[in-house]
């Protein structure tokens, strides 16, 4: 295994230090708890917190800033953040208006965030509400499974709810908004190559030289099917069909399109996927309000991408395009 790292066990710690070093004016960092938080004075707003295992960068630590998240709790690579870190982060950024947890639907993350809110209630901490994000259409929801996973579409929830929170909106309305965004959100991805966990040093799952995994999860959990490698046209079509038919998105709908890289695919390839997605949406009569193409929610160095659609209304549109001052940026 070759990576830009020192000791594998310091991966998360050093990466977050790098983030704090790079944005000293706006980002605070508590190394012992792996908490990244907003340093600039923000008052009279509900605090928005997300968290999950590390390895999905820029998700979520790099979305902390005005107009998006107030804090992010980072777990070890691909493992949920610990209860104590979540509890501490809530206490840290609460300004008396309560704390909203936005959590992607993975068992470990849910368990720890739910426990944290119970504990804060038990100990008379800030008021907490939680919204579970589950945008992945690859895994069908049922009472027999842990339900649909939360994947890249989550960034639209952070963005819209974060923007709204800056307007002083109360926690109940923010919770309602988050649920509404999640209800209009669908994602599906595919992997061309597995990722290498820094501490394990080996691929987290095996994929043959000519195979791709359709509907892959954020850690390489299997999705719908494993097939022979095919042209992007064919694969993006599969993803788009699954997504469009799931909500369903209909002719005349206006959407935001997110083409998200899984970490190891260059943006040139992501824009090829975007080009294909545009053609498919056009042929379905679905209007594109804005397109987002980049690495938003990754799986270490996994190659592949996911496609997300968010059905828009005027409020979503306004909040989506309002500026966010977050550390991940170009200029």
């Amino acid at each position: 295994m070759k990576k830009i790292i020192n000791m594998p066990e310091d991966f998360v710690k050093e990466m977050l230090k790098g983030l704090a070093d790079s944005r000293p004016e706006s980002i605070g960092y508590i190394p012992e708890k792996r908490i990244i938080y907003r340093k600039d004075p923000f008052i009279n707003k509900v605090a928005i917190i997300s968290g999950s295992g590390s390895g999905h960068e820029p998700d979520q630590a790099f979305y902390v800033g005005r107009g998006m998240l107030d804090a992010a709790c980072a777990g070890p690579v691909f493992a949920a953040p610990t209860l104590d870190a979540i509890v501490d982060s809530a206490r840290l950024v609460d300004k008396g208006r309560g704390v909203l947890f936005l959590v992607k639907n993975y068992t470990g993350d849910r368990a720890n965030f739910e426990m944290a809110s119970e504990m804060l209630e038990f100990e008379g901490g800030p008021v907490v509400e939680t919204v579970i994000i589950n945008d992945d259409v690859a895994v069908k929801d049922s009472t027999f499974t842990a339900g649909r996973r939360g994947v890249a579409g989550a960034v639209f929830v952070y963005k819209i709810v974060g923007a709204k929170s800056e307007e002083g909106t109360n926690i109940d309305d923010l919770k309602k908004l988050a649920v509404e965004v999640n209800d209009n959100l669908r994602t599906m991805g595919y992997a061309l190559k597995s990722c290498t966990h820094p501490e394990k040093g080996s691929a987290t799952f095996e994929l043959g030289d000519d195979e791709i995994e359709i509907g892959v999860g954020l850690h390489g959990e299997p999705g719908r099917l494993r097939i022979k490698y095919e042209r992007a046209n064919a694969t993006i079509n599969r993803l788009m069909e699954s997504i469009i038919s799931d909500l369903p998105y209909k002719s005349g709908d206006e959407v935001a399109l997110l083409v998200n890289g899984l970490g190891g695919s260059p943006i040139s390839e992501l824009y090829i996927a975007a080009s294909i997605a545009h053609d498919i949406l056009k042929s379905n009569g679905i209007r594109i309000f804005k397109t987002y193409v980049n690495n938003y929610c990754t799986s270490l160095d996994m190659e592949g991408c996911s496609v997300t659609l968010l059905k828009l209304n005027e409020e979503f549109k306004r909040l989506l395009i309002s500026p966010a001052d977050i550390p991940v940026r170009y200029f």
């Binding site: 493992a79 949920a80 068992t107 470990g108 720890n112 426990m115 842990a146 850690h219 959990e221």
Partner: protein, 214 residues
Amino acid sequence: MKTQKEIIISVIEKISKNLINSEAVLTELDSYIGDGDCGIGVRKGFEAVIKVIPEFFSLDLQDILRKTGFTLAYTIGGTSGAMLGTGFIELGKGLKDAKEPSIYDWAEALKASLEAIKRRGGNTKKGDKTMIDALEPAVESLVDSIDTSREIDIAKIFEKAAYEAEKGSDTTINMSAKKGRASYLGERSIGYRDPGSMIITIIFKSVSDYLKTL
């Protein structure tokens, strides 16, 4: 005669010591089909519980259990921390505000605790190769014994429950994991005992052994 509170404190101490001593075997099991941190986590968690036992004497029964649960969740980290924590917290909650809860109150609280763990685990079911495969048979056996026995002998009841937990844990060996980290291995998880089910077995054995000394 000891109060329930005194018994509970002693039982928690006994469970803690036994689990701390099981670090090696839990680590070994978790390293076959997980990430190998289960033993360390459990040891740290129950060491922390032993440290807070002095505070227990000023708390009521319910808060002792909740405090135990929060301490475990706080210090174990990982899935087993969340699950064990949830179990103790919900047990405490389930006992409502009874000072000396009846055996029926305990049965209700145990059922609620089991359900809470399953919910927290993302609708865990028997057969998923988790601690539920040991816990559910144990709780069912307890509830069943209480419902059907004329004369209640809690030592006997817990002995039976511990036996069922162990039997349930044995069944995990031939299962393919559907929940938790081991599920990433799928079929390759077959042939190994689930470490969480071992924790449950040790907990019930500890209770049973203690009750026999009363």
